[in-house]
Every structure is written in C-alpha cells, then in structure tokens.
C-alpha cells in the first residue's frame, strides 16, 4: 500500500488518527446501509419480475384485441371515437423514501363516469368496447409495474454506488491511513531514540571533561 505524503510530526499523527476513526465509522455505517438496501432490493426485484410477466401477457392481449377492433373500422373513426376520453384516470404522483433515496410513488384514481366507454355505442364495434375495457383493466397493473420497476432500477444504481464507496474505504483509504500512522509513529520513536542517545553522549562527554 502507498502511504500518504505528510510530514512525520505529532500534529499530523493526531489528525490522521481522527481521520482513521471517522473512516472506520463511515465504513461500518455504509456497509450496513448497503446490506439493508440489498435486502429491500431483493424483495422489490422479485415483485418486479412477477408483475412484469403478468403485465406482458395482459398488455399484448389488450393491444391485439384492439388491432382486431381496428381492422373493422377506419383509422379516422377510431381517432374520432377515442380522442375524447371521458373515462379519465387520474394519476397521483408522489415521492416515497427508501433508505434516503427519493423514489416515485404512483397511484391511479379511477373516475368512472356513467358510461363505460368514451364514445357512442353506435359509433364503434363491440370489439373496440372490449379492447377499451381490457386496456382499463391493465392500466392499474401497468402503473404498479412502473412504480416497482423504477424503484428497482434506482435502488440498483444506489447499491452500486454504495458498494463502490465501501470498497474504496475498506481497501484503499483505511489501509493507507493505517500505514501512514505506523510510519509516523515509527519515525517519531526513531527521533526520540536518536535524541536520547545524543543526550547520553553529551552527558558522558561533560563528565569526562570535568574530571
């Protein structure tokens, strides 16, 4: 390991010792935090996978149903029928907090009006009715999936960052500090010994002169 380039003085030694203790405490805290994030992540990612496989089936079914419906009508008619949605879904967006990480929190409020579809029944085929109903059903799950998947990817990002920090502290910062502290204390002891022998020598020289 490489030691930090500092003057071997008592002052520096004191500073380095306090830095080492901070680094050690920080390392412990960060490691605990990453462990907890990993635990939560594994719960979320499992949910994510299950939701996604459900949603993928439902969405492609809904879209396929719609393209069947579309084949019975011209695109203008479709545009006309669907451009004024009165089955409005209100999306509530908030922010939740997972381990100090602001993640999205989404919920869907359904404002079903009396009529179930946003057009006159005479205007479109029953296939279209059916596809709209399917889309409405799948939307709830889609929003839930959006929330979970975003949380998972954000947590993954944060875990990666945390791991990098923990490793930097564990394998670079702390060993470097320890080595530097050792170097300084050895240097100080060395200085101490050399001044002591110098004093002893001087003392014996003075004693020899006085005789």
């Amino acid at each position: 390991m490489s030691r930090i380039n500092v003057n071997p003085t008592r002052m520096e030694l004191k500073k380095l010792k306090s830095r080492l203790s901070t680094a050690k405490r920080g390392h412990k805290l960060l490691k605990d935090k990453t462990d907890e994030m990993v635990r939560r992540f594994s719960v979320i990612i499992r949910e994510n996978k299950n939701l996604r496989s459900e949603v993928e089936n439902d969405v492609s079914a809904a879209l396929a149903q719609f393209s069947v419906a579309r084949s019975f009508m011209s695109i203008q008619d479709i545009e006309l029928a669907f451009s004024m949605p009165n089955v409005s879904m209100e999306l509530e967006c908030g922010k939740a907090n997972i381990m100090n990480l602001a993640v999205p929190e989404l919920s869907l409020k359904e404002n079903r009006s009396e009529t179930k579809v946003p057009y006159a029944y005479s205007a479109v085929t029953s296939e279209a009715d059916y596809s709209v109903e399917l889309a409405g059903k799948v939307l709830n799950k889609l929003v839930r999936l959006a929330e979970v998947e975003k949380r998972a990817s954000m947590l993954a990002d944060e875990i990666e960052k945390g791991k990098r920090r923990v490793n930097a502290l564990e394998y670079v910062m702390i060993p470097n500090l320890e080595e530097t502290i050792k170097y300084i204390s050895m240097k100080l002891e060395e200085n101490d010994r050399s001044s002591r022998t110098r004093l002893m020598k001087v003392k014996s020289m003075i004693a020899a002169r006085e005789e």
Partner: protein
C-alpha cells in the same frame, strides 16, 4: 401532484390506451421515438414505450434512470414481448447483486 401518462408505440394499437386517458404517440423507428421522448419527457410522469422501440433506444432510456420522474417503462407490443423487459430486470439485478437470483431456475 397530478401526473400524466403517455405511450409511444410502433403501430396504431397503442391508441387503445387513449380511451383510458393515456396520451398515445406513434413512432415508426427508434430514432423518431428518441426525439419524441426528448420532447415529451418533461411533460409526462409515466411514459410507456413498446419494447420493439425500447430495444433500439436503450441508451436514452438509461439516461432517465437517476431521477424519480419521468418513469420510462417498456411494454410489449401486440405481437407479444420480445424479452426486452425481462432482460432489463436481469441487468438491473446483476448490477445490484452481481448474481442472478430469479432466472436461474428458468434456464434449466
């Protein structure tokens, strides 16, 4: 906060979601979807993209990863999933944990 949803699809089938209050856009190539996404990213909180398009614009989608909004999610198209969504879950998991804890059974 009130949010808005949009869906970007490669064909007209996404108009089905228009009836339930999701704004539908169509883009016929990943490139045009990219410029569309940049235009609407600030306006919407959730943006669904069909996975045929999403596969071609992976980089752009990753760019929106760090902030909470907008949430960009791939959905399958009417022909079924092309596996992009599951792949991205797998990538996320491997990034965070370094190991595969979900899919290993499926491969057997």
């Amino acid at each position: 906060m009130k949010g808005k949803m949009a869906i970007i699809g490669s064909d007209d089938s996404v108009f089905a979601f228009k009836a339930v209050g999701v704004d539908a856009y169509s883009a016929f190539s990943p490139e045009s979807a990219e410029s569309l996404l940049k235009k609407i990213a600030k306006e919407y909180q959730i943006i669904f993209i069909t996975d045929v398009l999403a596969k071609g614009m992976d980089e752009i989608i990753k760019r929106y990863l760090n902030s909470a909004y907008p949430v960009i999610i791939s959905v399958p198209s009417k022909n079924g999933s092309n596996g992009y969504g599951m792949e991205s879950i797998k990538a996320t998991m491997e990034k965070a944990l370094g190991v595969d804890i979900l899919f290993n059974k499926d491969n057997e």
